[in-house]
């Protein structure tokens, strides 16, 4: 019986995703991003049909499992763009470290000021990394991975929607700087927005997303070990 339930949840998730992706390619506004619309539709479906999350995950975990090799696959674009990294290596590397450190410290400070529980602070710390890595780090340091995933998504939308405003406030005209900031603050969702700026923005953005995941995955546990 479980194999039927698993297939149903896999097939329906893939179908909803493909449909939403089609919709997004027709109307490419951030609010119609497939990850957002698919999630809402599937959650609504589960709530309406009274299906518990555990039952959905009988199939869902097979899709989730592909995140492991998926993150590893980011080595391929990283390899492709390696020459460009070398050209601007100090700018990109220092930018990523600044972004990760300021991100961890700022969210930690805010949450301490708001008197939020430790478990939720650990959940929010990896918020600027790409989802699979953020969830992995969240699990490693004792956060709540699915909640981390939602906070990551919120960080992504913040960048995609308000990033352009930040650029004009700071008078940022450099594609390298735009890419580094967006990739390391708002990972994939924000990086997708960089298509509007140009190819260099986009490649530096996706590269920074990958590199900041590595840097963050190292810095986050160290920060927790020292300060919490």
């Amino acid at each position: 019986m479980w194999i039927v339930r698993a297939s149903v949840s896999i097939i329906s998730t893939v179908c909803v995703f493909l449909l939403m992706r089609k919709l997004y390619s027709k109307y490419p506004t951030p609010l119609l991003m497939p990850i957002l619309t698919s999630t809402i539709i599937i959650i609504a479906g589960l709530l309406l049909l009274n299906i518990p999350f555990d039952v959905y995950m009988e199939g869902g975990r097979y899709l989730q499992h592909l995140l492991g090799p998926g993150v590893g696959a980011l080595a391929y674009p990283l390899y492709n763009q390696w020459q460009m990294v070398l050209k601007y290596k100090y700018t990109i590397l220092s930018g990523i470290v600044i972004a990760m450190v300021s991100g961890i410290i700022s969210v930690y400070t805010l949450l301490v000021v708001f008197k939020i529980d430790k478990e939720y602070i650990l959940t929010a710390l990896p918020k600027s990394m790409t989802t699979p890595v953020a969830m992995n780090v969240s699990e490693t340091i004792g956060g709540i991975p699915p909640l981390t995933a939602v906070l990551v998504l919120i960080a992504g939308f913040t960048g995609a929607l308000l990033g352009p405003l930040m650029y004009s406030l700071g008078r940022i005209h450099s594609p390298i700087s735009r890419g580094v900031a967006m990739g390391s603050a708002s990972h994939g969702v924000g990086t997708a927005k960089l298509v509007d700026y140009g190819e260099l923005d986009l490649s530096v953005g996706s590269l920074s997303m990958g590199l900041s995941a590595v840097v963050g995955a190292i810095l986050c546990p160290i920060f927790v070990y020292i300060f919490m």
Binding site: Y79, S94, V214
Partner: protein, 145 residues
């Protein structure tokens, strides 16, 4: 044919992931197994131990569908309705403010560092050109003598 190639390449990428899992289990490194897989694959590509063509299609496939793979874990949010509470809203607000702060400061500082890096490179190139000219002078001197 392409489907088979993608499946085989995804299996190869899985090998790297499971090497990462193995490394994490052996060493208890506080790092995600997937990141260790990424670094190992990059090293293999960089030193040409593995041809780019052996992973290209599989990698593009997985990266193209990446968002699909994180839908199931995000669905897990239905088990956390407290996100709609007061502390939940503060959590969300903190993430938004922090992200804006990072975007603003990083792009600003980055633009400043980039200018420095470019200026340094130009200086270096100028110095190298001068050195080159001096070499030319020296050779011409040699010829004169």
């Amino acid at each position: 044919m392409k489907v088979i190639r993608i499946i085989l390449q995804v299996m190869l990428l899985y090998v790297f992931y499971y090497i990462g899992v193995f490394v994490v289990e052996m060493t208890h490194l506080p790092l995600p197994a997937s990141i260790i897989g990424l670094v190992l694959l990059f090293i293999c590509l960089y030193f040409k131990w593995i041809k780019v063509d052996y992973v290209k299609d599989g990698a593009n496939f997985l990266i193209g569908f990446m968002t699909l793979f994180f839908i199931p874990p995000i669905i897990g949010i239905i088990d956390y309705p407290e996100l709609l509470s007061v502390s939940g809203s503060l959590l969300v607000a903190s993430v938004i403010i922090s992200t804006l702060f990072v975007l603003f400061t990083t792009s600003l500082i980055c633009q400043w560092i980039e200018k420095k890096e470019l200026a340094m490179k130009e200086k270096k190139e100028l110095a190298m050109e001068k050195e080159g000219e001096r070499d030319v002078d020296r050779t011409s001197e040699c010829i004169h003598h």
